[in-house]
């Protein structure tokens, strides 16, 4: 079924759209990493078996020949509501069942699929209100899903389904109706900015590559999503891979490139498999390869797996890694657009950026600008994690407030705790606090308060989080991922980590704060690449927003978040203590003293906070406090 002309492609789209309409009931079982881990594939297989046993006409893939009505069971990409997985969505009713177990399958088949009735016990409920349909659930209702439009709604492993929903029509338009200049103008006018963190205008980048005379040129997709707490790109690669391939194809036409690479991090084996399959299917159909659809445009895509180096998310390190070398950044300029992969002009964009392109070409720049803010058009996908009720994958218009995301979509903080801060932009970003809850999230507003959107990780932290420990955690991460090429990053992050370790273990001095800020200034101004330049951000932003916590650690040896083990205080309650001396014998640092048969006391200066005395005391006389 190789498509060799524009008419072939249009015919295929019509055919599969027809085939989709024959599916009277669609059962979408989430096959994202999260739900698979929860056992969703067993549920899918069980549903298929049960339907067959009931004599139903069941389809697992879209048919290639005309056929009668059928019920389809599909493995979809991530629905986003990961906290509630495994998820099963039923169309056309739009019912969403959560935390589904294999033993629920018979009831789903009998009640919902055959009799069309809803099963309230499997639905999402909040404050005793049951939400039968997916679109009514507050988590989904407040979102605007453009890039994630298909994630969870189509079979992620089928090019047929993508075609049936109008797939590759933007590519078709770009190939036959638009000139490269038209494509770039549309993209520039759309205001799309790079979604990988930098926020560089995508149209400007493509234009720069287009201007270069050197040949060949390359298209590279950055799927090295390394920020801890971010999984937007993984969900696109797993849930709607063809959308991203289509975006890459369009950039190939615009910039006159015919070779492309996707760099995927090693920790995403399923994304690699889905992409491989998508590339194979697109190649079989003649949507990749030589002389695509009878034109003189050729395009091939290869996949490179990362090997575990965070710094490879940086452009020049990533291209160096594709070349088979150590992934170390180089001095810029020249930029990747001029000298990128193999020293040639290269379009390097991230997964979400490419996935935005097809709809912009289809619906136009004006449509894209109708979402978001003036300087940050469109939507942004965020991974919502940490101490929040509804963890998962969301997409909202740029300029949405944190309050909308955390309270309306995320459902607030669990266990009646208070919101304290949210870490945005991963280890290169900063933290936002209560006073920022109504700040619009877009590229420029965040920069003003010393944070950044980054790739889109949002880690929510409740009142029992220690911000000094969070800063230490990020610095530890960056320090171990520093490639070691430039001195400011290699040495600077090491010293900053040492100081932070001193503070969380109660050995800090107040001058350490100025020293940290001074080091931060030097590292961010002199490091070679983005990793180093942004490494001090979490430290600077926690000192700015939570200075009192640092001071409590340093001046009072107290951890207000009740996290740092070395800040624990042990004391002996005099009326419970029988003076048996067991605690003093157990103490490894001779911090406990007293006369036998009289209450003992603990010398906190000598105490190493090991807790051995608590275990030794038979009278529960020793108290732990913060």
């Amino acid at each position: 079924m190789r498509l060799t002309s524009r008419a072939d492609l249009q015919q295929a789209r019509r055919f599969y759209s027809q085939a989709l309409s024959q599916q009277t009931t669609k059962i979408l079982v989430c096959a994202g990493t999260g739900c698979i881990a929860g056992g969703s594939l067993v549920i899918r297989d069980h549903l298929i078996e049960l339907l067959k046993a009931k004599g139903q006409n069941v389809a697992v893939t879209l048919a290639d020949e005309p056929h009668g009505p059928e019920i389809s069971v599909k493995s979809s990409g991530c629905h986003g509501f990961c906290e509630m997985g495994p998820l099963v969505r039923i169309e056309p009713s739009g019912y969403l069942y959560i935390k589904v177990k294999p033993e629920d399958c018979a009831e789903i088949v009998e009640e919902t699929v055959i009799n069309g009735r809803h099963i309230p016990r499997l639905a999402y409920s909040f404050n005793e209100k049951i939400f039968p349909k997916q679109d009514e659930i507050p988590f989904y209702k407040q979102q605007t899903r453009l890039v994630l439009e298909h994630c969870g709604h189509i079979d992620a492993t089928s090019v047929k389904e993508y075609l049936g929903l109008g797939g590759y029509s933007a590519f078709e338009k770009a190939l036959f109706d638009l000139s490269p200049d038209d494509i770039i103008k549309e993209l520039s006018d759309s205001g799309l900015r790079g979604r990988g963190g930098g926020g560089f205008p995508a149209g400007k980048k493509w234009a720069e590559v287009q201007r270069q005379k050197a040949k060949p040129k390359y298209v590279v997709c950055n799927g090295d999503e390394g920020d801890p707490g971010a999984f937007m790109d993984r969900s696109v690669m797993e849930g709607d891979p063809h959308r991203m391939l289509e975006g890459m194809l369009i950039s190939g036409i615009a910039c006159d490139a015919s070779e492309a690479y996707i760099y995927v991090r090693a920790e995403y084996p399923m994304a690699v498999n889905r992409l491989k399959l998508a590339i194979e299917e697109a190649t079989e159909r003649g949507l990749l390869g030589d002389n695509i659809l009878g034109s003189n445009f050729s395009f091939r895509i290869r996949i490179n797996r990362g090997a575990g180096a965070f710094v490879c998310g940086e452009g020049s390190a990533l291209t160096s890694s594709i070349e088979g070398k150590r992934g170390m950044p180089r001095v810029k300029p020249p930029r990747t657009a001029e000298k990128g992969l193999f020293g040639q002009p290269t379009v390097l964009n991230n997964v979400e950026t490419f996935a935005n392109v097809p709809e912009i070409i289809n619906k136009g720049a004006k449509w894209h600008r109708s979402f978001g803010t003036a300087n940050s058009a469109g939507t942004k996908a965020f991974a919502l994690t940490g101490n929040i009720r509804n963890t998962g994958l969301i997409e909202v218009p740029m300029g949405s407030t944190l309050r909308t995301i955390i309270y309306d979509i995320g459902g607030g903080i669990p266990d009646d705790k208070d919101f304290k801060a949210v870490q945005i932009g991963g280890p290169s970003g900063g933290c936002l606090t209560k006073e920022h809850l109504d700040l619009p999230l877009d590229f420029d507003s965040l920069k003003k308060v010393g944070a950044m959107i980054g790739s889109g990780g949002l880690v929510v932290m409740d009142s029992e989080t220690c911000m000094v420990e969070v800063a230490r955690f990020f610095m530890n991460f960056i320090q171990s991922e520093s490639c070691g090429k430039c001195v400011p990053c290699r040495e600077g992050t090491k010293r900053m980590l040492m100081i932070l370790e001193r503070i969380v273990t109660g050995r800090g001095a107040i001058r350490d704060l100025d020293l940290l800020l001074e080091l931060a200034d030097t590292v961010s101004n002199t490091a070679l690449c983005g990793l180093g330049k942004t490494a001090p951000n979490p430290v600077v932003s926690t000192i700015r927003n939570f200075r009192s916590e640092y001071e409590a650690h340093i001046l009072e040896r107290r951890c207000p978040g009740r996290v740092c083990a070395k800040m624990k205080r042990f004391s002996i309650e005099a009326d419970k203590c029988k003076g048996c001396s067991k605690c003093a014998q157990a103490c490894p640092s001779a911090a406990i003293s007293g006369k036998v048969k009289e209450p003992f006391v603990i010398d906190l200066d000598k105490c190493v906070r090991c807790g051995a005395c608590i275990n030794a005391c038979k009278f529960q006389a020793i108290q732990e406090s913060w």
């Binding site: 990493t33 999260g34 698979i36 881990a37 929860g38 990961c82 906290e83 997985g85 999503e225 390394g226 920020d227 801890p228 707490g229 971010a230 999984f231 993984r234 090693a266 920790e267 995403y268 084996p269 490179n304 797996r305 990362g306 090997a307 575990g308 180096a309 965070f310 890694s321 594709i322 070349e323 088979g324 070398k325 150590r326 992934g327 170390m328 193999f342 991974a383 994690t385 940490g386 101490n387 963890t391 998962g392 994958l393 870490q423 991963g426 990780g457 880690v459 932290m461 989080t465 955690f473 990020f474 991460f477 991922e481 490639c483």
Partner: protein
Amino acid sequence: MSQEFTTQVLDEIIGAHHNSPSAVIAILQDIQERYHYIPKAAFTPLSRRVGVSEASIYSVVTFYENFSLEPKGRFIFKVCDGTACHVRKSMPILERLRKELALTSDQVTTPDLGFTVETVSCLGACGLAPVLTVNDKVYPAMTPNKVSALVAELKEELSHETN
């Protein structure tokens, strides 16, 4: 456990990548997949076939976290210590796992090459935190007790394999 290293296997792997110097990382990944580590004996023949110096290959192997010059275990635990898992208490899980297998941050593989325990920055399954993987299979919402049960199960499986 991992098989004996042979140049024939190496030749197959290199051939599949068309002897290309830019495929060094992909070739090393295939070798690692096969043997669970990069045998030292692979360096000289690999260098000759793809035309990249042994020093360069060594520099690549030591740069990337995923490559190991030491043999790894049959079951490789990767405990996620990304931000989301960290705030949902992943460290007690790691501690329990190391205790169960008598491993430390320096000694990561058991002497019988049964188990390896590593940490990883983020597996991208943050919605299910805390998570760990065993040979790429994801185990969600872990607790120290669940880890102990899992280790017991895998030890059982290992004893069947070796018998």
